[in-house]
């Protein structure tokens, strides 16, 4: 086993002539929880989307498990996405399917599991996150917090090696943030490798093994939460944190 699950090196990405990522480097070890912080537009979301191939990169490498190059033109992206889960800010549950069907769709169709196996696995996951009673509900009957937890369960059902969270609490009512963060805590306890962008500084501090501050498309500073939050080396990091924690 390598000690790097995800290796990002020298990644560039521009939208309409404006570079969002400027040669960004980042490594994530297995079972590590890495939190990306930074102002809006600093490239957090773009980076996460590049990692599971929802965006192509202009230059650089993204290696999964040391051998699979996500950025290679000839890589089968469906195979990559089978191994990487992502949860978005806006849940994106499928509104025409029940919660259970949302969760079992890709295990059935992508992993070719039997319907009953997928259901058993989905029910076990829903149970674990306190959502079993909602299995037959449709997404429009869920609160934001429940919907986001279902989205997490849906991604977990594919048993990903790496989970990406793209500001998953940003669209939630403040009262509902807690239940989603509890879910993330539990995933970290379970040893899942996490790479997440967030604006919840308190949560970042608590759950992160490593905090990366993104600025102008690069990781400007990284370290343990104590290092980054306690005594940031870069002036820009301090500035950002003082604004966020105000």
């Amino acid at each position: 086993m390598t000690n790097t699950l995800l290796e990002i090196s020298g990644v560039w990405k521009a939208f309409e002539g404006h570079s969002v990522l400027r040669g960004l480097d980042l490594r994530v070890a297995p079972h590590e929880a890495v939190v990306l912080i930074g102002a809006s537009g600093s490239g957090k979301s773009t980076l996460l989307r590049c990692v599971n191939g929802l965006e192509t990169v202009d230059a650089g490498l993204i290696l999964l498990d040391g051998d699979l190059d996500v950025t290679d033109f000839y890589t089968d992206m469906d195979a990559v996405r089978r191994r990487i889960g992502i949860v978005f800010q806006s849940y994106n549950l499928f509104p025409h399917m029940s919660v259970l069907d949302n969760v079992t769709l890709s295990p059935c169709k992508v992993l070719k599991r039997s319907v009953s196996d997928s259901r058993d696995q989905a029910m076990a996951l829903l149970q674990r996150f306190g959502l079993a009673a909602k299995a037959d509900e449709y997404p429009d009957r869920l609160s934001g917090g429940q919907a986001q937890r279902v989205a997490i369960v849906r991604a977990l059902a594919m048993e990903p090696e790496l989970m990406l969270f793209d500001e998953i609490t940003s669209a939630l009512d403040p009262l509902l943030v807690g239940e989603v963060l509890d879910t993330v805590r539990e995933l970290k306890m379970g040893g899942l490798t996490l790479l997440m962008a967030t604006h919840e500084m308190g949560f970042a501090r608590e759950v992160a093994d490593r905090v990366c501050f993104l600025d102008a498309g690069v990781v400007l500073e990284q370290g343990t939460p104590e290092e980054v939050f306690g005594s940031p080396r870069e002036a820009k990091t301090g500035e950002f944190l003082s604004r966020m924690l105000k």
């Binding site: 889960g85 978005f88 994106n92 509104p95 769709l105 429009d140 594919m158």
Partner: protein, 307 residues
């Protein structure tokens, strides 16, 4: 003048109904309607219904009276609303209408199929399938631009004139084919709009779960797209029901043709009115059904919005 009693004061109300002020108090009702306010609303609703009815009846009476007093009315009545003529022609019209129903029932599923296939073809990205995409685009461009009746003429008179081996010579066949081609182009665009109405984040979420592009369309995008276009599709159904009458130009005896034959043999147009009634009897329930479906979907959407 309002005509309404001044609303009673809350103080007098509280003498009759003691309601615990706080909803958190034990034994507080789940829902509670102020009986006075409810009575006021009911009274207003009853008055509105009565006024509406009276107004409608008055309007009909005045218009009916005015029309019946015009000098031409007896002739109009004789020519368009002739009772004996109606009874004589109506059964024949109903019989002929069965052909319209048949054309409709055969054309509609084919239209849906062609519409869906063409819509999907137009959004293909594979370079190998470029010919299909071009063909689908051409089809929609051409048949959406042609008047339906022109397509019926072209196919119904044109193709049999070629005297091709093994090609049916039947007017109903070509008339139905023309309707299918004409409506297929419209319905294809309706489906395409439906596909476009599904937010890209749905496709993104599906792809991020490892579903292939085809699986994403099949399980995530299409079911939502079809649901979104049910109201406009019903609208096109209604339109098609009427346009089955266009096939009459090729000669088969459907309801309009039958009415024409009746009218020209007696110089009385009551048969046309009879045919009109038959169409309306079918399209009005369909229109109400479309309205109902639309209202239900709107309600579901707003419910989803507040959830």
């Amino acid at each position: 003048m309002s005509g309404w009693p001044a609303p009673r004061r809350r103080t007098s109300l509280s003498n009759h109904h003691t309601v615990s002020a706080s909803t958190t108090a034990p034994g507080a009702p789940e829902v509670y309607f102020d009986p006075v306010r409810q009575a006021q609303r009911r009274k207003r609703a009853r008055r509105d219904a009565l006024v509406g009815m009276a107004s409608l009846l008055g309007f009909v009476a005045v218009v009916g009276f005015a029309i019946s007093r015009t000098s031409g009315w007896p002739l109009v009545q004789e020519t368009f609303f002739n009772g004996t003529e109606f009874l004589a022609t109506f059964p024949g019209l109903l019989d002929a209408f069965l052909l319209n129903v048949r054309i409709f029932l055969i054309a509609e599923p084919l239209i849906l199929l062609i519409g869906l296939l063409v819509a999907l073809s137009r959004d293909l990205r594979s370079p190998l399938l470029l010919p299909l995409r071009v063909l689908a685009t051409l089809y929609v461009d051409i048949f959406r631009g042609l008047p339906t009746i022109l397509v019926i003429f072209l196919l119904g008179f044109g193709v049999p004139a070629l005297q091709l081996q093994g090609v049916p010579n039947n007017a109903v066949f070509w008339g139905t084919t023309a309707l299918v081609l004409s409506y297929g182009a419209y319905v294809a665009e309706v489906f395409r709009a439906g596909i476009g109405s599904v937010h890209t984040s749905q496709r993104m979420a599906a792809r991020s779960l490892g579903l292939t592009s085809l699986q994403t369309s099949r399980y995530v995008v299409l079911p939502q797209a079809v649901r979104n276009v049910v109201p406009p599709l019903l609208n096109d159904f209604i339109s098609l029901q009427k346009d089955t009458a266009l096939v009459s130009v090729l000669g088969p005896i459907e309801v309009l043709r039958q009415a024409q034959i009746d009218a020209s043999s007696t110089f009385n147009y009551t048969a046309y009115v009879g045919a009109a009634l038959i169409f309306i009897a079918l399209t009005i329930p369909m229109t109400r059904f479309a309205d109902w479906v639309q209202a239900r979907m709107r309600k579901r959407r707003t419910m989803a919005g507040t959830a």
